[in-house]
Symmetry: C2
Subunit: 125 residues, 2 copies
């Protein structure tokens, strides 16, 4: 556990948002200016692999990184890009049942308009 890895880990733990590698890099740089992008990616990959953090895959978006919380899914707002958590348990079993084979893993990216953006939309239409 190097200094840079601890820092990256802490940044993710401290945040309640879904940070991209670049956001993490920029934040890390403020505390450890010499840190390299490659180091960030390497450590994010390793920690995600080890199950210490979670990689959030959203279609056509850079990957984001999450602290490990109870299983949940993510929805991204098409207007403001904010990523919200949503509980959808049971989906995996659904898939397994209907597909008829064990699922190794899956990603579900849901695109929606968040309530605030929906309101703005309503106002200016």
């Amino acid at each position: 556990m190097t200094r840079q890895r601890q820092l990256i880990f802490d940044i993710i733990q401290r945040s309640d948002r879904h940070l991209t590698a670049e956001q993490i890099y920029l934040e890390a740089k403020r505390h450890l200016p010499s840190i390299a992008m490659g180091t960030v990616y390497r450590n994010l990959g390793l920690m995600a692999e080890a199950g210490e953090i979670r990689r959030v895959v959203i279609a056509n978006e850079p990957d984001r990184f999450d602290r490990m919380l109870a299983p949940h899914h993510h929805m991204i707002c098409l207007r403001c890009g904010h990523v919200a958590d949503v509980e959808l348990d049971g989906i995996r079993q659904q898939i397994e049942m209907r597909a008829g084979v064990p699922v190794e893993s899956y990603d579900l990216s849901i695109r929606y308009i968040c309530p605030q953006c929906r309101e703005i939309e309503r106002t200016y239409r």
Copy 2:
């Protein structure tokens, strides 16, 4: 409807697989050697937008393109990369119900081991 667009469209219609832009490009080139990658991407984007073909988004995979069939989902085999269709209707309503807001769209990438690869795995373990 240009020659190149018709060709790209036909390649997708004729195939029962889920072709990447590159595979489509290579196949198109055999019939129309001057065709450019950019043209393929441009037309795939336009046709997908128009609903003439379907773009299949799989996490960490290049996009694939499908003829329009009844709504269905896709599973990719972690070993051989083959993309299989699977019917999972009702998932969208599930999501909407549990999320409590209208879903604009979503992508579901399911990773699994296909029966053949599972067999191979079993044999050599």
